[in-house]
Subunit: 246 residues, 2 copies
DNA sequence: GTTTGTGAACGCCTTCACAGCA
DNA sequence: TGCTGTGAAGGCGTTCACAAAC
């Protein structure tokens, strides 16, 4: 049923949500696919099609109620519930992430910070004491046991839902493995490397170990962004984007 | 001629390049589309098709020479030449970006840092004194005049090629406009907002001001990454592959 | 035999036109 | 009339099979 949704649609939904938040701040009561299209840099067809994957949120002839559509998108994207997050790597980048405003608006709760370096472990960041990475597995287990509230994901008791990887590139794969070993199913990878399931040798070939089953990896890679930008500056004709005079 | 290259191909080329660098560090002399496919999470068909957009880099029956292919990809991506970069917003995130290792490997030179806050302007970061944002336009002009070396982009004298936006979301649009007013054509936007060309009213409708002609915007948005991750954790059946995104 | 390079088929995402409803 | 919702068309990127080269 929910199969066959383009991943580009998910990215665009995030953008629509942001625009709706801005509209709510502007005390705008209603909007239209045309307006959402203009402010997001898409076509009105695209906006309507994207929304149609998840339901019927508008009123024909009228448009969309800003408040209602915003709530629906939050529900669709899973942002109406709390997410418990650990951050691995509390250097400049990890600290910037931990302190970046806007995450807590969506109940992304940073519940644990981990590093391995002398000067960083035991440091206090945003009211949390940085722990040593070796304690991750115990921390995740104890966290789940300490809180009887069920997880939004699987109905089991609360657990750590995501791990953010802000470690140096050469340590990213091992750190990802530590997250997976601890049972964490979502990884937001900031390191400029491809995080791959560790394969284990079996009779008849290599196979992915069970811990990696169902693990989702999303990448946020600004070095890659720099390189793409360099390419498009050299080849501007390939980027016909944002040039709609209407 | 070079038209019709999927933007997904550019993202993948960046990944291939990274893998080739790792291979060179491993003293691997040659590789194959199959191996590149495995390490990047793609198919061998995809790898060969991506490379074919830009030339014939392999030897049939033999594969690819790591060193050669790496150099070719660097050339294609525009990484064999120097890029002069300014960063706007030197809070925790901007400072983390300025200090992140790996950028200078590709001759991305941070030549100016800008902010508006009391405690940040005049601060020393990575050997550069943070300037007030008001000085941006003068800085860019003087920078171009100070260096007679031609720009890799247009053959004119050296200029500031890119601006990184690490300012708070509510100031991102204005800061982007400042970059564009200063004549900078590439923007790497870290703020969770859509950067749009400022339109000016003309007879017969709104039009994009000339300064925005040819401006490229690439986004690196980790809050969006968090939200996509939340969605895919709730809907794991939609994410059958691990792939990188825009 | 091995692996690249590529025209063609395929499938999916986007675009479109119009039906449906206020 | 106005704008949404959606089946169908179209276009584009991925997949494929095989020819070409070593």
């Amino acid at each position: 049923m929910t199969s066959g949704i383009p991943s580009a649609t998910i990215s665009r939904l995030v953008t629509y949500l942001r625009i709706l938040e801005a509209m709510e701040a502007e005390h705008k009561a209603s909007t239209s696919s045309t307006e959402l299209a203009e402010r997001s840099g898409n076509t009105a067809f695209q906006v309507r099609k994207d929304l149609a994957y998840f339901g019927r949120f508008g009123t024909r002839g009228m448009g969309y109620t800003v408040k209602l559509l915003r709530r629906e998108l939050m529900r669709v994207l899973g942002l109406t519930q709390a997410w418990n997050v650990v951050i691995l790597g509390i250097g400049r980048l990890g600290e910037a992430i931990a302190n970046y405003p806007g995450a807590s608006d969506y109940a992304f709760n940073y519940v644990g910070l981990f590093d391995v370096a002398e000067g960083i472990v035991d440091k206090d960041v945003r009211g949390l004491k940085v722990r040593h990475l070796d304690e991750l597995q115990d921390f995740v287990r104890e966290f789940a046991e300490s809180d009887p509230q069920p997880s939004p994901v699987d109905g089991k008791r609360r657990r750590v839902d995501m791990g953010f990887l802000a470690v140096p590139p050469e340590k990213a794969q091992d750190a990802a493995q530590a997250l997976v070993n601890a049972g964490i199913k979502g990884i937001l990878n900031f390191a400029p490397v491809v995080i791959a399931p560790r394969t284990i040798e079996r009779e008849g070939g290599a196979d992915v170990s069970d811990e990696w089953q169902g693990v989702i990896v999303e990448n946020v890679d600004f070095l890659a962004g720099m390189k793409r930008l360099a390419f498009y500056i050299l080849n501007p004709h390939l980027k016909l984007e944002m040039e709609d005079t209407l």
